[in-house]
Subunit: 429 residues, 2 copies
């Protein structure tokens, strides 16, 4: 390293974790643009929720350091090169995916203030403001907490211990890639930004996927890495859309309709591979049963909770019932994947439908068993919309362990969406 | 890396393997000084011998590249900093280990010409000239061939394959070090220069030993690495001294005396931990039986061939027979060691004598099983004195697989030194 680079690095008061507003998931930007157009006045609260209470974040992470990282994110602005890339790059085969009015706004965006308080061994971290501004906190907030936790553990380690730790982790990732290499016609993307071990590690994993899988690696959800490594930025939409639309519904009828309103808005804006249904927010079966026919014409479905094979069978059955050929459709698996599960699902569904995988935490954060007390094991941290215009949000999903919201609202949603007994699946990541 | 460094690196016509005249084993310099004083007019021939004929060096390594590397070594001169270190550093507790007349000569040394010819799938590489000049070719010549062979295999590999290869090799070395860490009172040095995978790799291994073993790592035989990493330079003397002294002997009586003449010259020059007997050149048992009593007063014995436990028992018995307490003596094991053997020998002999280990090839070149066809496995390459003043040299050692010299001379040496049947041990490295 040259002297200038060292001096430059020493100028940092902190070692920032998130250094760019596009160090975030691509679907966040797509959803942001949609909200910017369709719900620009909605006020939401997002909140950090550590589903792994055994990981005492407030004991591990210094509050001052956390504030510095969050403050640094608020100092970020979209850079000229990033803006040029968003405006000029082709996404999902389409140029000018991001409209000029949205880009104009994004170029001037500063993320809104955060609220941070220690509660016992956990932090309460919330963001309140316009939906399209607040929503952009989700990914960097998660990435900062995950990486500060990694740093807290790594801090006590010596130079060669660190080198061996990464040597082992690299070997593990590469051995997974070697397994995946054997799958003919695999399509897999990196979805691991939010719970990554660190930015540099995610970047390394993506490069390993590029070299190891070639064209079978379809891209990364991380915009900054997609730009730098010149691969596809991947992603469509997430639960926050139906959750907020539903919270805004005034009546039970409007509530029942809300998830379809989301996709109706999306239908107007996007086509092709961006028309991916995320059906599980309030139970997949009921959602598909009551879905309008135009939705069966969409390109695919993303399975993000519950037993994935069961979810895929449900989707295939639904398409058939609606006169669609499942072989023309795409199923994207994105929940808690690791290599064995990917191989199993691919074996079961390839040929019957088009299969893709969004591989997250166990790609970018599999340090299980590599340090004493498993102190680097991934854990289940989320950052979700908890209210919209003063109404609490609710998520049911196909796994009751992932349900969110006040109990009485959960009961109401279950009634409105006709959700009965659900099978519980342990949430690891 | 800064631009200047890149440009500087691009200036190299080749990527040199040996970049310093002190990138060699410390004992070479000690022996060189001894020869410079005691046998300055002796003309010797050194020759490269690949004991692993299954490794077709001339097929793997381009002759032009090999010549470039050897030519580069001939362009090297002792640098001012290197000279200062040799003159000023304390070695084995002694200042000014290297005499001014020797340093004066060394500062002006250029290595003598080499003779290189392809013979089938092997290279014939020989050096002829004054002993104290030619002998300094041994280590760099071996290191160049070993590393060119590594490069030939690595050339075909892609970036991430390389990264994983080194990740696995690092993990392996570290796991060995973690094993060694458990041994209380261990004393171990790096003896792996000559058959190292590469210079950078040896340097990494030494750093790992420093961090992992602390004071139990006694140092490295490599002078350049010892200087840069600020650890002890380790080594005493080798078979070439008795081999050449013996070849110079005119009569059988003089031959029988020659190995003791070597140690008599050494006795005059060195004391303490540098008084280490290497007894196996013409059979350990006979050598010790006939040794003069003053030799039993030396500090220790290095076991470099045959069954090491048996050799150590022989030494202990000999000391006892000569009225010496083996607990005051040191046994240095240096032949074909790996962790299991080190642990076994330490367990067997610690307490009964002082035990040290010179760990070579399986420290600095254990890439076994890490690439297809085991193409990076270490192999048995040596560079030895084959004649002195026109007389062939002979080595018997305690393992007939390591014997060298014309058959009729081997028979004569066996007769003169009273060597009977020997147990054959497979030579791996």
């Amino acid at each position: 390293m040259d002297i200038a680079t060292r001096v430059y690095n020493h100028k940092w008061k902190i070692d920032p974790i998130v250094r760019s507003l596009i160090d975030t998931d691509f679907y966040k930007l797509l959803m942001c643009q949609s909200v910017f157009r369709n719900k620009p006045e909605t006020i939401v609260t997002f909140s950090l929720i550590n589903r792994s209470s055994s990981v005492p974040l407030a004991k591990l992470i210094d509050e001052g350091e956390l504030r510095e990282q969050l403050d640094h994110i608020r100092s970020l602005r979209l850079s000229r090169g990033e803006s040029t890339w968003l405006r000029g790059n082709m996404f999902y085969g389409k140029r000018q995916m991001f409209r000029p009015d949205f880009m104009e706004w994004f170029e001037h965006l500063q993320l809104p203030p955060y609220h941070l308080e220690r509660r016992g061994d956990q932090y309460e971290l919330t963001f309140e403001g316009k939906w399209h501004e607040v929503m952009l906190w989700e990914i960097p907030a998660l990435a900062v907490l995950m990486e500060l936790r990694s740093r807290a553990v790594l801090n006590g380690m010596r130079r060669f211990e660190l080198q061996i730790l990464y040597a082992r982790a690299m070997t593990r990732v590469w051995e997974k890639i070697e397994q995946l290499r054997k799958i003919e016609g695999l399509g897999i993307a990196d979805f691991g930004t939010r719970r990554r071990h660190s930015f540099l590690w995610q970047d390394w994993c993506v490069q390993a996927m590029i070299e190891g899988l070639g064209a079978n690696f379809s891209g990364t959800s991380n915009c900054l890495i997609a730009m730098r490594r010149e691969v596809e930025a991947i992603g469509t939409n997430a639960h926050e859309l139906p959750m907020v639309y539903s919270a805004l519904a005034d009546t039970d009828d409007a509530l029942a309709q809300a998830p379809y309103d989301v996709l109706s808005d999306w239908h107007e804006e996007h086509d092709g591979n961006l028309r991916i249904i995320l059906p599980d927010t309030y139970g997949t079966e009921g959602f598909l049963d009551r879905a309008p026919d135009w939705l069966a014409g969409w390109t695919g479905i993303r399975i993000d909770s519950g037993d994935p094979a069961k979810g895929a069978e449900t989707a295939i059955k639904w398409w058939k019932a609606r006169g669609e050929d499942p072989r023309d459709k795409r199923i994207i698996f994105s929940d808690g994947l690791d290599v064995e599960k990917i191989i199993e699902l691919h074996t079961q569904f390839a040929g019957r439908t088009k299969v893709s995988f969004g591989w997250g935490t166990l790609l970018t954060n599999d340090f299980r068993g590599l340090v004493p007390n498993d102190a680097l094991a991934p854990f289940s941290l989320v950052c979700k919309a908890i209210s919209a215009n003063g109404h609490p949000t609710v998520k049911l999903s196909d796994n009751p362990e992932k349900a969110m919201g006040p109990p009485e609202e959960i009961e109401r949603y279950k009634r409105v969406f006709g959700v009965g007994a659900q099978e519980s699946v342990e949430v690891i990541v």
